[in-house]
């Protein structure tokens, strides 16, 4: 399968009001000939050509520029102004979720599936993914034994969708969530995937070209399982990507480009958010357990600060103009999430079951009462602190996966806000498009970004009402495929507008006027309680009030709260 060809439309509902987000990058990828695109995509590529982002007839990726806009647009919809604004009038069901959760079937886990699902349900999650570590024991035992537990949880707990997945040891790289739509083959596909492509199971963790290729084969396997209808859907998201410097920029680009409809994003914020609480009343480690140093397998270009979190978020996401932005500036859809990575919960009084023999049994016995709170544990229950909100069209498994794939996703910590509705639109022309979407318009159209935020109406799970203090709008130019697959900077991306929020409670309405747009751009938003801000990782001129590096052994996650939205692209023709 050629790069960028993998976008599958069969999960999308008939909806002509929004462009599929995964379309952008393959339109920009000039190594894909027009003849390999659908007529609709050829037309949309015409929009980009006339906007000057794609050189006409250029067969080599990366040769772009405003000077080569030779072809005419050929956009058959451009005669219709209403169509150009591509309004998204759907009403979404915003469901909080978590795609990174470990159980007693992980060698460092403890809880039953039902323990997690009951907590996640009580803490407000609409969907969860059980992701035990890939391992010899899991491939042989756990991947099968966890399934009836998951099916039982689906029956017992109402209002929370429970997916089966696994935490893939990505060959040559970090870990990642892989999960599938429930169905008859969910176990068979996951097991086959784990046996064939897990880095630990296959002794393929070393950062070698052969193992990097195995990772791509794994992504392609998932795409194939969907194509052949063995499972209805599958997704892969990279977890804690900067923790040890193992996920190089070219590997991330490689996974995405292999199957953009399967490899859709990474954790913007890792789990283990209690790990930075100071000892002795906390683990005293790094927030997210981000306390590592470069190793021989690390990408040598990453700076030392990339090994730490910033405001609880991974450096790849927290850095304005950094790695995430470098993907968005290419026009590559790539989404962020925030999850618990819950293994053992801070302050919990339970312990692993007595007489457990994980190595032989593949699981720990059910947890037991331990008699005292354990303050050395670094995790929260799913839904307790980290939430990934997806805009689903319906309350079902397929809709949650589609929302994740489409990037209708925002994330928050500590219940900082209740809802986020972000729209890019041509002024006076309807509702515009929301997170993950693409607004196509005419060059010179006046475009605005609107945000409606419901402030926290009540207390979070630490029993206080968080107060939003500032919202930032981040904007970058869309410049097409990067010549350097290991690039991790977007030099034209910066904070373009900040809003101080004084209001207590209720809804906040914010508008950022882009003015007359003359070039393709993308926008994303971020907000904070304002407790820990300062110059961003690339300097105050790019991000004057960005998240700060978390202090090892002294990071109270409840006193440093952020939300992040996924991007919207604006493409004038």
């Amino acid at each position: 399968m050629g790069i960028g060809h993998g976008h599958h439309h069969h999960h999308h509902h008939d909806d002509h009001s929004q462009e599929g987000p995964a379309d952008v990058a393959h339109l920009l990828d000039t190594s894909i000939a027009d003849s390999d695109l659908s007529p609709a995509d050829v037309s949309r590529r015409g929009v980009l050509r006339s906007a000057g982002i794609i050189g006409a007839g250029v067969a080599t990726a990366g040769v772009l520029g405003a000077g080569s806009a030779a072809a005419s647009g050929g956009d058959d919809r451009s005669a219709d102004p209403a169509a150009r604004s591509r309004n998204d009038d759907a009403d979404y069901l915003w469901l909080a979720g978590d795609h990174h959760i470990h159980t007693q079937y992980s060698p460092d886990g403890q809880y039953r599936v039902i323990d997690h699902v009951r907590h996640g349900n009580a803490f407000g999650l609409g969907w969860m993914v059980i992701t035990d570590h890939g391992s010899a024991q899991h491939a042989k035992i756990g991947v099968e034994k966890v399934n009836p537990d998951i099916r039982a949880a689906r029956e017992v707990v109402n209002g929370t969708l429970v997916f089966q997945g696994l935490e893939w040891n990505i060959p040559a790289a970090e870990h990642g969530t892989v999960f599938v739509h429930p169905g008859d083959n969910e176990v068979a596909v996951l097991k086959e995937f784990e046996n064939s492509f897990d880095g630990v199971v296959n002794n393929a963790t070393a950062s070698t070209p052969a193992n990097e290729a195995l990772a791509l084969a794994g992504v392609n396997y998932l795409a194939d399982a969907v194509t052949r209808k063995r499972v209805r859907d599958a997704l892969f998201l990279a977890n804690h990507p900067a923790r040890k410097g193992l996920d190089s920029p070219h590997e991330i680009r490689g996974w995405r480009d292999a199957a953009p409809h399967i490899a859709v994003g990474f954790e913007g914020a890792p789990g283990h958010q209690a790990a930075g609480l100071p000892a002795p009343s906390g683990p005293g480690s790094g927030r997210g357990y981000y306390d590592n140093s470069p190793n021989a397998s690390s990408f040598p270009g990453y700076p030392l600060e990339s090994y730490r979190t910033f405001g609880g978020f991974d450096w790849m996401t927290a850095t304005v103009g950094g790695l995430w932005d470098s993907l968005l500036a290419e026009g590559k859809p790539w989404w962020i999430t925030a999850n618990s990575d819950s293994h053992q919960v801070y302050g919990d009084t339970s312990v692993r079951g007595a007489g457990s023999d994980f190595n032989n049994n593949g699981f720990y016995n059910a947890p037991e009462h331990g008699g005292k709170p354990d303050l050395t544990l670094g995790d929260f229950w799913p839904g307790f602190y980290s939430r990934t909100h997806v805009g689903a069209r319906e309350f079902d498994y397929a809709a949650v996966m589609s929302a994740l794939r489409d990037g209708r996703v925002w994330v928050d910590h500590g219940g900082l806000i209740d809802t986020l509705d972000v729209r890019a639109r041509v002024r006076g022309r309807g509702r515009g498009v929301t997170l993950g979407g693409v607004l196509t318009c005419k060059r010179g159209d006046r475009v605005q970004l609107t945000m409606v935020i419901d402030l926290a109406a009540g207390p979070n799970w630490a029993q206080f009402v968080p107060q939003l203090a500032r919202v930032d709008v981040i904007q970058g130019d869309v410049t097409g495929p990067a010549g350097d697959r290991d690039a991790f900077k977007a030099p034209n991306t910066r904070v373009v507008k900040s809003f101080d929020i004084d209001q207590k409670g209720g809804s906040v309405h914010l508008t950022y006027e882009l003015g007359a747009v003359d070039r393709p751009v993308y926008l994303r938003v971020r907000g904070t309680d304002g407790n820990r801000t300062g110059a961003g990782a690339l300097g105050a001129s790019i991000d004057p009030n960005g998240p700060q590096m978390d202090v090892l052994g002294s990071a109270d996650p409840w006193k440093d709260l952020w939300f992040y939205g996924n991007p919207i692209w604006v493409l004038p023709s």
Binding site: P107, D108, H133, G134, S135, N169, V200, T205, A206, S207, T208, K244, H272, A275, P278, S285, G286, Y289, D291, N292, S293, P294, N295, A296, S297, P300, L304, E305, R308, D341, H343, A537, M549, V551, L552, G553, S554
Partner: protein
């Protein structure tokens, strides 16, 4: 200054290179301690770890041996095991790829890499000031992560684990803020373990 010379007068040293395919910094440090101990050198020599990215990435070692001190390759080999590569002067011992790793490490000694042993390291325990670090060791600069050089009176909570790096000929210890207004070395002695754990 010539980083190979320490802070004293220039002296002739030779560099022993060892590549046993160590997979982690902790593993490399452990092996390095065993090799240094086996050499029976007086005091702490400058000894370092180097990333080898050819093939499966791993870590090799270099150890400065003062002029006059003898190295018995067979004795070193008995510490490292037969699968390790060893380079000492013109001598090459062990499998070819490991010898290549040891050679690469030796070529980088003094330019890049991480000093796991150095004169004065045993005095850098508990909390010391930046000034004391600069006085007692070959470290030439204490630099705050994402910031400037640390002030001389800044207190450094060493965690008994000080591992500076060669950077452009300087020996730099990168630190980051911790609680109580102190800083601590960037490298944590016991980082959260990898692979099927978290």
């Amino acid at each position: 200054m010539d980083p190979r010379s320490g802070s004293g007068a220039p002296r002739v040293v030779r560099i022993l290179g060892v590549d046993a395919g160590s997979g982690s910094l902790a593993e490399a440090d452990h092996l390095l301690a065993s090799v240094v101990s086996g050499l029976g050198l007086a005091g702490d020599p400058v000894a370092a770890t180097h990333f080898v990215r050819a093939g499966a990435p791993h870590i090799a070692l270099t150890i400065e041996v003062p002029a006059g001190a003898e190295v018995d390759p067979a004795a070193v080999g008995s510490v490292t095991g037969p699968a390790a590569g060893l380079v000492w002067g013109d001598l090459r011992q062990g499998p070819e790829d490991r010898v290549e790793g040891a050679l690469a490490a030796r070529a980088e000694h003094g330019r890049s890499g991480r000093l796991a042993r150095f004169p004065g390291i045993s005095t850098l325990t508990g909390t010391v000031t930046v000034r004391e670090i600069l006085e007692r060791s070959p470290i030439t600069e204490v630099s705050v992560l994402m910031g400037a050089a640390a002030a001389p009176d800044t207190e450094v909570a060493t965690r008994d684990h000080v591992r500076p790096q060669w950077r452009d000929g300087a020996v730099v210890l990168v630190v980051q803020p911790v609680s109580d207004g102190k800083v601590a070395p960037f490298e944590v002695p016991n980082p959260t373990p990898c692979c099927a754990q978290h």
